[in-house]
C-alpha cells in the first residue's frame, strides 16, 4: 500500500464517531475499542433509527464511549449512568437507552443502581466492559477482580470475592443476560443486536484485556496473550445456570447467552397497575415503543 493510499484509509465506523474527539485515550491492546466497533456494527445490522438511540456512560476508561459516539449521549458522574438512563427512558420512552460503561462504574460504585434497574425491569440495555480493575485511575482492586490477582491496592493479590455479573443481573431481575470476551466479536455483535430489540432490562458483559494495568501487574503479557487466554479458556454454554459462572484467576470463562425471557417492563407494570386501580382516570404512558 502506498503511503498516500494509507492516509486515505478511513475507520470503518467513522460515521458513528465524533472524529473531533479522536484519537481516543485507550491503550494499545485495550479491548474497549473492539467492543465499541461491535456496538457500531450491531447498530448498523439492526437498522435501528439512530435518532432514537441514546448512549450513556459513567466514569472510567469505558466511560469515554459516550464522548466518542456520534449519537445523542451523556457522560454522567461515576456510577450514575443507570439512574440517569432510567430518568431519560421514563421522560422519553421512545428512546432506546444504552448504558455503555465499565465494571467499576456499573458493578462497583453504581452497583446499587444496577440491581434496582434490573429489579424494576427498566427497559434499558447495559453493555458492561469488564477488565477486572479500575483502569482509569491506575489499576485498583474492583468488585470484579478475581481472587489472587494483583492490583495496585492489592499488591499481594486480591482476597475478596468478586461479583459474578451475569448471576447478579439475573438474580436482580434482568430479562436478557449474556457474557462474551473481546475475542467473541461476532457473538458480541449478535447479542447487542438482540438486546437492541429486547423490551426489558438487558445486560451484556464483555470481558476485555487491560494490558497496561491488569495484565502488566499480573505479568500476563500483552493484548494478544489475553486473547489467547480467552481462546483457550472460554467455553460457550448457552443457557448455563448463572450460579456457575464465577471467574477465577486465569480460570475458565463460561460465555454465552444465559437469560432471554419476556417479562412486563416497569412501564408495563405501572400502566397495568394504575390502569386497574384508577380505571378511566388513568392515561397509559409510554407504550408502543417497539
Amino acid at each position: 500500500m502506498k503511503k498516500e493510499d494509507r492516509l486515505e484509509q478511513r475507520n470503518p465506523i467513522e460515521d458513528l464517531l465524533r472524529m473531533d474527539r479522536i484519537p481516543h485515550i485507550w491503550c494499545p491492546g485495550c479491548g474497549i475499542g473492539t467492543v465499541l466497533t461491535s456496538f457500531a456494527e450491531a447498530l448498523r445490522k439492526s437498522e435501528v433509527d439512530l435518532d432514537k438511540i441514546a448512549v450513556l456512560s459513567g466514569i472510567g476508561c469505558t466511560g469515554r464511549v459516550a464522548g466518542y459516539v456520534k449519537l445523542d449521549s451523556i457522560h454522567t458522574t461515576h456510577g450514575r449512568a443507570v439512574p440517569v438512563a432510567t430518568g431519560l427512558k421514563l421522560a422519553n420512552p421512545e428512546l432506546k437507552v444504552v448504558v455503555f460503561s465499565g465494571d467499576g462504574d456499573i458493578a462497583g460504585i453504581g452497583g446499587n443502581h444496577f440491581i434496582h434497574a434490573a429489579r424494576r425491569n427498566m427497559d434499558i440495555m447495559i453493555i458492561c466492559v469488564n477488565n477486572f480493575n479500575y483502569a482509569m485511575t491506575g489499576g485498583q482492586v474492583a468488585a470484579t477482580t478475581p481472587r489472587g490477582a494483583n492490583a495496585s491496592t492489592a499488591p499481594y493479590g486480591n482476597f475478596e470475592y468478586p461479583f459474578s455479573l451475569p448471576y447478579l443481573a439475573e438474580a436482580s431481575g434482568a430479562t436478557y443476560v449474556a457474557r462474551w470476551t473481546a475475542l467473541h466479536l461476532r457473538r458480541v455483535t449478535k447479542s447487542m443486536q438482540e438486546a437492541l430489540k429486547k423490551r426489558g432490562f438487558s445486560f451484556i458483559e464483555v470481558i476485555t484485556p487491560c494490558v497496561t494495568l491488569y495484565a502488566r501487574r499480573n505479568r500476563l503479557g500483552d493484548g494478544l496473550n489475553l486473547l489467547k487466554y480467552y481462546y483457550e479458556k472460554s467455553e460457550i454454554q448457552h443457557g448455563a445456570d448463572t450460579r456457575t459462572l464465577d471467574i477465577s484467576y486465569q480460570g475458565k470463562l463460561i460465555v454465552g447467552k444465559f437469560v432471554d425471557i419476556e417479562k412486563p417492563t416497569f412501564l408495563d407494570c405501572m400502566n397495568e397497575h394504575l390502569g386497574k386501580v384508577l380505571g378511566d382516570k388513568y392515561q397509559t404512558y409510554g407504550v408502543n415503543n417497539d
Partner: protein, 384 residues
C-alpha cells in the same frame, strides 16, 4: 530521613507516621497514589492498619466513621466528585464528633469534566463542620497530617488536609520524614472518652429532639472556636520537636507592604516568587497565605492586613451568584473593624488554568490603577 516524594505520598507518609489504624478509600484521579501507597503499607505491615477497599466514597466516609466510633484512628483521601459524594457523611463525621483525618486533592467539579485544580470541591464543604487546612508544599502536607490528628482528636472534630491537583499532588519535592519515635511522642494513641465498646455500651446517632439538637450544634461551634489557639499551640509544640512551624496563616514580607495578596494552596508559593521579583523592582508587596480556612483565622487576617494600603484576594474558586469565596470571607472579617481598607477580589486559575508569577503582576496592575475596587469580581485570564 529525607526522601523525594510526590504530594500524594506525603499524605500517605503522614497517615503512616500518624499510625492510622483504619483506612477506607476509593480511587479517584488525582488522589490514587495516596491510597495505593497506604494499601501497600497495610499489606506488608509497614503500617499496622486495616485497609478497606470500599465501593464508593460515600462508603469510604461511612466506614471511616464506623472505625472512628470503635476508637480507631482513621485516615482517608479523596478529591472533587468523590468529596461531593461524601457530603452527607461529612456532616455526620463532624456532627457525630468523629475525628477522621482526610486528604483532599483540590480538583475542579464537573461538568465539564476536569481533573485539574481549583478549590470549589473543598470550599463547597465549608459548612460541614470540618477543619480545613490548605497546603502549599509537600513537607507542609506531611507535617499537617500529623498535626491534624492531634488537633482533631483533642477537639473531636474531623480535619481535611487539602492540596492542589498536580501542582502539588503529583509534584516531587524533598520531604523530611520525622522519626517515628518522636512522632509517637508528639502524637499519643487515640483514646476517645466515649467509643463503641461492649465494655461500656453507648448508642450513637439517635434521634435528637429540638430539646437537645440545638445544644449539640452550639457545642460544635464552641469547640471549633477553640481550634485557632489549639492549632497555634500544636504548631509550636511540633516546631520544638521537629523544627518546622505551621500556624493558621503564612505571612510573607507583609510587615512594610503597601499591597498584600491573599492566597491559599500552591498559588501562595507562586505569589512568593512574584513578590521577590516585585520587591527587587521596589514595589512593596507581601503575601498572606491562608492555611486554615475553617475555622477562619479572623484575628490573624485582621492584624496582618490592616497596615496595608490595599489588599488583593486571589480566589481559585467562585460562589456562583456571589464572589470569590476567600474574598467574601476576608471582607466579612474586616467589616466593622477596618471598613476603609480597599479589598479587591480576583478570580484566577479555575479548572487548572495556570496561575504564574505574571498573574500576580497583572493583579497588581489592577490594584495600582484604582483607589478602591469598582467591581466585586475581577477575572484574570478569562476568554470573554
Amino acid at each position: 530521613m529525607k526522601k523525594v516524594m510526590m504530594g500524594n505520598h506525603a499524605l500517605s507518609f503522614g497517615g503512616m507516621l500518624g499510625r492510622a489504624q483504619v483506612i477506607a478509600a476509593y480511587p479517584i484521579t488525582p488522589q490514587t497514589q495516596v491510597v495505593e501507597l497506604l494499601s501497600e503499607m497495610c499489606a506488608d505491615k509497614t503500617l499496622d492498619a486495616t485497609f478497606i477497599k470500599v465501593e464508593s466514597e460515600h462508603s469510604a466516609m461511612a466506614a471511616s466513621i464506623g472505625a472512628s466510633l470503635a476508637g480507631a484512628r482513621t485516615f482517608t483521601a479523596t478529591s472533587a466528585q468523590g468529596l461531593a459524594l461524601m457530603h452527607e457523611l461529612l456532616h455526620w463525621a463532624s456532627g457525630g464528633r468523629n475525628p477522621v483525618v482526610m486528604g483532599n486533592i483540590n480538583r475542579a467539579m464537573a461538568p465539564g469534566w476536569s481533573i485539574w485544580s481549583d478549590q470549589n470541591d473543598s470550599l463547597s464543604q465549608r459548612d460541614t463542620g470540618w477543619i480545613q487546612f490548605y497546603c502549599s508544599n509537600n513537607q507542609e502536607v506531611l507535617d499537617t497530617v500529623i498535626q491534624a490528628f492531634k488537633v482533631s482528636e483533642k477537639l473531636m472534630i474531623p480535619s481535611m488536609v487539602i492540596l492542589d491537583a498536580f501542582t502539588l499532588s503529583h509534584t516531587y519535592e524533598v520531604v523530611d520524614l520525622p522519626d517515628q519515635k518522636k512522632v509517637d511522642e508528639f502524637l499519643p494513641p487515640f483514646r476517645p472518652e466515649i467509643k463503641l465498646t461492649p465494655d461500656d455500651p453507648h448508642a450513637f446517632g439517635g434521634l435528637t429532639s429540638p430539646e437537645h439538637y440545638f445544644e449539640l450544634r452550639y457545642k460544635l461551634q464552641k469547640d471549633m472556636e477553640k481550634a485557632p489557639a489549639l492549632i497555634e499551640k500544636t504548631g509550636k509544640e511540633y516546631e520544638k520537636m521537629f523544627g518546622r512551624y505551621l500556624g493558621q496563616v503564612e505571612e510573607y514580607r507583609c510587615d512594610d507592604a503597601d499591597f498584600i495578596f491573599i492566597t491559599s494552596g500552591t498559588v501562595g508559593s507562586t505569589a512568593r516568587v512574584a513578590i521577590d521579583e516585585l520587591r527587587e523592582e521596589g514595589v512593596k508587596v507581601g503575601n498572606l497565605r491562608i492555611k486554615v480556612f475553617r475555622p477562619f483565622p479572623f484575628e490573624k487576617v485582621r492584624n496582618i492586613i490592616k497596615k496595608a494600603k490595599k489588599v488583593a484576594v486571589v480566589d481559585r474558586n467562585i460562589s456562583y451568584g456571589h464572589h470569590g469565596i476567600f474574598y467574601q470571607e476576608v471582607k466579612s472579617a474586616m467589616f466593622g473593624h477596618h471598613n476603609s481598607l480597599p479589598i479587591f477580589g480576583f478570580i484566577a486559575g479555575l479548572g487548572g488554568r495556570d496561575v504564574t508569577p505574571s498573574t500576580f503582576r497583572e493583579i497588581l496592575g489592577h490594584v495600582q490603577k484604582k483607589d478602591k475596587s469598582e467591581e466585586e469580581i475581577i477575572w484574570i485570564g478569562v476568554k470573554k
